[in-house]
């Protein structure tokens, strides 16, 4: 049974806060996890040990899943801000720094969902499970080093399609 990540997001939305000594206010990491708490994608933009990553993931998944619908999409967590939003069965969750812009982060999430949706055609959680590598490639084209790299949907998809073409030609 495919769960369509419809572009009309679930009304539950959220995001949280975290600590590093980096100068610039930037995204620290992005996590995708299911309503059951299963991690589907993790992208870290700050160096952390595997142990720390697991700890953060565990705590954060728990915190976000405990939030009620209609609550605000932002929350303070450790010394980071968490921005999260739920699409169908998946939670998209970004950690940004205190001074960072929450709303634009929320729209980073949305644009990423749009990209996935366009690429897979009505994306669902299973697409991301079975093609996790593609989900990573698309994210890298859109966000690099925690900063938006290319915000044009057309340009990102063009880059991905070119790469897909390349593999077909060469294979």
């Amino acid at each position: 049974m495919a769960l369509c990540l419809s572009l009309i997001p679930d009304s539950r939305q959220h995001v949280h806060r975290f600590t590093t000594n980096c100068l610039l206010r930037c995204m620290q990491f992005m996590l995708l996890f299911s309503r059951q708490g299963k991690l589907r994608l993790q992208k870290w933009y700050v160096p952390l040990s595997d142990k720390e990553k697991k700890k953060i993931t565990r705590e954060l998944v728990q915190t976000v899943l405990a939030r009620k619908p209609k609550m605000c999409s932002f929350l303070e967590w450790r010394d980071l801000k968490i921005v999260y939003k739920r699409y169908a069965s998946l939670y998209f969750c970004c950690a940004i720094e205190d001074q960072d812009n929450e709303l634009i982060t929320l729209e980073i999430i949305h644009r990423y969902v749009e990209l996935l949706d366009k690429y897979f055609g009505s994306v669902c959680e299973l697409d991301i499970i079975f093609n996790f590598e593609k989900a990573y490639f698309i994210l890298d084209e859109f966000v690099l080093g925690g900063e938006a790299q290319e915000t044009s949907k057309k340009n990102v998809l063009k880059a991905i399609e070119q790469a897909d073409l390349l593999q077909e030609v060469r294979h």
């Binding site: 595997d50 996790f132 915000t151």
Partner: protein
Amino acid sequence: MNKMPAVSKGDGMRGLAVFISDIRNCKSKEAEIKRINKELANIRSKFKGDKALDGYSKKKYVCKLLFIFLLGHDIDFGHMEAVNLLSSNKYTEKQIGYLFISVLVNSNSDLIRLINNAIKNDLASRNPTFMNLALHCIANVGSREMAEAFASEIPRILVAGDTMDCVKQSAALCLLRLNRTSPDLVPMGEWTARVVHLLNDQHLGVVTSATSLITTLAQKSPDNFKTSISLAIARLSRIVTSTSIDLQDYTYYFVAAPWLSVKLLRLLQCYPPPEDTALRSRLTECLETILNKAQEPPKSKKVQHSNAKNAVLFEAISLIIHHDSEPTLLVRACNQLGQFLQHRETNLRYLALESMCTLASSEFSHEAVKTHIDTVINALKTERDVSVRQRAVDLLYAMCDRSNAKQIVVEMLSYLETADYSIREEIVLKVAILAEKYAVDYTWYVDTILNLIRIAGDYVSEEVWYRVIQIVINRDDVQGYAAKTVFEALQAPACHENLVKVGGYILGEFGNLIAGDSRSSPLVQFNLLHSKFHLCSVPTQALLLSAYIKFINLFPEVKATIQEVLRSDSQLRNADVELQQRAVEYLRLSCIASTDILATVFEEMPPFPERESSILAKLKRKKGPGNLPDIDARRNVNGNTEHSEKPEPANKSSFALLADLLPTNRPRPASASPIMLSTATLGSTPPITALLNLNSPPSTGASLLVDVFPESSCLTAPEVSEENFFRFVCKNNGVIYENQLLQIGLKSEYRQNLGRIYVFYGNKTSTQFLSFTSSVTSPDSLKTQLIVHAKTVDPIIEGGAQVQQILNIECVSDFTDAPVLNVQFRYGGTLQNIAVKLPVMLNKFFQPTEMTSQDFFQRWKQLGAPQQEVQKIFKAKHPMDTDVTKAKILGFGVTLLERVDPNPENFVGAGVIHSKNSQVGCLLRLEPNTQAQMYRLTLRTSRDSVSQRLCELLSEQF
């Protein structure tokens, strides 16, 4: 049933899909682990097998390992195969290799050299797709080794004329990541100037990436990137004035390039407002346009539209707050946020509360923020989301000042009753700070803190109750009230242990002040405290025992009752060694020590030295620097806040705290310290045993001193000691004189034109002082202006004892000189002769006056005659700390008038000097210049001699 995904672009790996399906079909965690182990064994054997694997198989197995890793399992092999994939000429194999490396290789891997080699080849390939894979990998891993290898190569790629746009984008963010992780390895060079010009690039994607890079670099070395200001403003201006279709695919839900706009606005926050007027007005126009757009009807009902639009708006407001220089923009921003406070979107309400917090710290918008107080209080009561309520608490804290402190404290207290446990401690700290900071009347402060303990006792940290005790001890006017109030609070059948601590301490010190009332007679007080004893923890019980021994000193009539309690088995044989020791020692002390000795040992606590509230330090630690809107530091231009309090390192604070409670300069003999008793619970080593040696010589070798003092010293009139005179200008209590034999402490109080000084003479030696006399003399000129009447004092001071003398003072007219205290006594056959200038100054007869800004300036003008004004410009002798300055001005005796002077850095005050013959109104203004470390002090009064004297006195204080 799991289905296979309908779409699988590129070349799907069937084996991988089957494996993923298997995992998903596992019914239990055990089954999943079993399946994974089977797969790991299979992959291991393939990798170790004799047969060389083809690229596809290698890719498939590496991908499976990656999947297993992402499920949360450890992977300890396969790295070499992944590195091999990097050099494949097949794109998909290379891509998977890079993904594995990005996700799984930590920076100190042995493989890093091999990886770097592959990256180098791809960077040199001139194939944009390969180059991007390599750049993404560097940006994702960002290790130091990679920075060493590529930090000089990437800038070249970034600014080369023939580099494709998409590669430039990746190169810019790759460099940003390296600069962030290893800033020392990224060299500045001629490329920096060319990077700035990427802000002009035709390709908005390139501009978007480059703006982030430039912002990072500009934070590191702002001067090198100053030219980016004008380019960023020009770019921003073009975006905000564009129509929604101009930017094509960079328009997001009818908002033109929101990501780029936010980044440009953020870049501008690295700098102060532009000096160039044309540039400045262009920027102001942009900001106004953004504010105007917020009022336009939405172009779409989609939340994405309003989010993107408001993201830009909030960033613009951040810039306005950062510049803090355009009052109109600040007030507009505040009004806009005010609208959001009532918006139906929770997110916007949250952000408005958050943003207003910073706005509250600007002089220009503080008042505008305050107008929203009712909405914010309402948010506290009605918001369903704790994170929003938290923001409301922060904002109330930030907008608090003298005018609304009572209301805000009441609201916070009532919220505390139902607040989430997660934020209670923070609210307690905030209430405690506000109550102290804005207490006009300390009875309110005491009530507030006791309420805090009642409502949220568990969340009241040590700092809070230590602080209330410090304050009560330092303020004579509140001691009786505090005693009465804690006494009443302790009546509650169930009261929090923190209340017992405060109650025990305060009644032990000041229980005598309410003992006159039969309802709170000594015995009633004692029984009340003791009724709580059994329910308390050991530290509190220890504190109560100290309170009991103080009771024995204060109230001889309950001595027998208390001795009985101390003598009981539950005390004398208490299993806790500290309690047992106290019981034994206190009991013994109460039996052997004379009343005088007890009185000396348990003399009332002397005032604590004024210092930063340890609560504030705690709140700062809790919130971390930067997160706490500093209610003292109103922003100055460019948004640099001047922190008036220095953050204390966390590990030091406990010492500071202890020092708070263990003052060093106290007006009493040094050998027998009651403080040790009363605060032994706070220190780790109870120095109580020292008390039992009361009759042995004190630590200083007093007997040797006789030889040191030359015989002649007593024959001539002594030199008048003025050493500490000026220290008493802004305070009334403390040690005025001390030598090896004698310590003279003062406690003074003044009302209108009358004053009273309690002088404490402490014999520091173990030998009696004989023929002790002390009198006050005044120079002739002073005799008609100031009348001092000294009561007589006992001619003998026992070794280690202290005696008190009362001086009554009346101010007849304004004066300049000071009376002298002459002390004579015999010590070991030698006549000692000491003269001390008594700190009775004109400002002691100040009564503070409240007045409005308008009244102030009207009076100021009226006092404009040249002889009425005295001005002095002087160099700062102490660090220029706003809080200390405020405390000194208040201590000087005038009211500190807030928000009267248009320059918020300045201090203005007003008061009236009362003498029997006249009352002289006085206005003062102190202008600090932190850069020059200078002050200008101006005094205006109707009498030139008064202006002159007050100026002399106050200017010595900074």
